[in-house]
Amino acid sequence: QWDEPRVCSRRYLKVDFADIGWNEWIISPKAFDAYYCAGACEFPMPKVVRPSNHATIQSIVRAVGVVPGVPGPCCVPDKMSSLGVLFLDESRNVVLKVYPNMSVETCACR
């Protein structure tokens, strides 16, 4: 993903449950598109990073340098979606749970 923009944005990440050792009890899905957020939130921030008002102020304060030690805003998930997971519990009964905030839909500087 070297060609992807340096600015804060959503990057593709497919998580295979086998890679983290959970595949023994997760029935479905075997994998899902989780995505992740990465990139800079430097001044001046483009519209696409959807900074909060606080992030805008923090970015300016950092750029001006009037308060030392203030970092730039962070590139974090903004809107997320849930994921239903079918798995075996420790009694080997089948359980379905819909977990919130499992997949990134949009990223933002916050």
Binding site: W22, G69, E90, K97
Partner: protein, 327 residues
């Protein structure tokens, strides 16, 4: 000996679905050879339904299935369900008991008896206290309607009140027994026709941080080669608390601005690296060379009006920015 099962009108979330009925063979293939039964098919179907965007299982977020263990008590088949794996944070919304019932024709009256209306079978649900040899407390006796011949039928009954009461009393072992009302063999159904329970719940803890690891991570990923015992994964938020406490006196947690002696020369502002049309206009304009006073006087109001009309973003206070830069 039965073809595709028919589902009852009970609230099992299946009847009336728009989804095509999956073939059990296809569905259970995902579960492996050890789980090819109707509960697996049912759960896979629910998974497909609730994996759609925005769909929630009965306004909750959890469906638990419970397979039965077959016991024989007084020569009668009794199915025992262990519901103890339900979490305290899971608020029960609905519970359904699913079972396969043979048609009445399979249970003819004894020879010599007058042919009357067939006795209605009853489903007896009891809660069993732990380590008790008693039959348990009778929680419900549900009258059943056997299906017409020639095929048996999967049915479901709402047992929400039974499960909720059993949980309230801390008796999460439930037994199910069919009282057929005659000499029929009862509820004994081997293999794929064994009864099961579904509990629809709303897990209040699922919105907590790392809830996915609480239920799905079953080992400590850092355990290998580490002799130090670690706390159970996500068992508590202690590490987070400790880390916050360790830094509580640090400057970053101090809400006061640093003193003048701490001030240094302003850091180099990060130059714009983006195309003009991608940027928020306010901050960018604040750090750009400004037009001469005369130009501003001449064009200012028009420019400002045009900018305010076209811009959909905050207009940063230039004076504030200038003051900040001077400081």
């Amino acid at each position: 000996s039965h073809t595709a099962p028919a589902w009852s009108a009970a609230s099992d979330g299946l009847r009336g679905d728009e989804d095509p009925q999956p073939s059990p063979g296809d569905a259970t293939a995902a579960l492996g050879p050890g789980a090819q039964d109707m509960v697996a098919v049912h759960m896979l179907r629910l998974y497909e339904k609730y994996s759609r965007r925005g769909a929630r299982p009965g306004a909750g977020n959890t469906v638990r299935s419970f397979r039965a263990r077959l016991d024989v008590v007084d020569q009668k088949a009794v199915y025992v369900f262990n519901l103890t794996s339900m979490q305290d944070s899971e608020m029960i919304l609905t519970a359904t008991f699913h079972f396969y019932l043979e048609p009445q024709r399979r249970w003819p009256p004894a020879r010599g008896l007058a042919a009357g209306p067939p006795a209605r079978p009853h489903l007896l649900l009891r809660s069993l206290p732990h380590n008790a040899a008693t039959q348990g407390l009778l929680r419900a006796a549900l009258a059943l309607a056997p299906p017409p011949p020639p095929r048996g039928l999967w049915q479901a009954r709402d047992i929400s009140a039974v499960v909720q009461a059993a949980r309230r009393d801390g008796e999460l072992l439930l037994s199910a027994q069919l009282d057929p009302g005659d000499k029929s063999p009862g509820l004994h159904r081997p293999g794929a026709h064994a009864p099961y329970i579904l509990v629809y719940a709303n897990d209040l803890a699922i919105s907590e941080p790392n809830s996915v690891a609480v239920t799905l991570q079953r080992y400590d990923p850092f355990q290998t080669g580490d002799p130090e015992p670690r706390p159970a994964p996500n068992g508590s938020s202690d590490p987070r608390v400790r880390r916050a406490a360790a830094q509580a006196s640090g400057p970053l947690h101090d809400n006061e601005l640093p003193g003048l002696h701490e001030r240094r020369a302003p850091a180099v502002a990060h130059g714009p690296r983006h195309h003009k049309h991608e940027l928020w206009p306010g901050p960018l304009r604040a750090l750009r060379p400004r037009p001469g006073r005369r130009d501003r006087r001449r064009k200012g109001p028009e420019l400002f009006a045009a900018s305010a009309a076209s811009s959909q973003v905050l207009d940063f206070d230039e004076k504030t920015m200038q003051k900040a830069r001077r400081r």
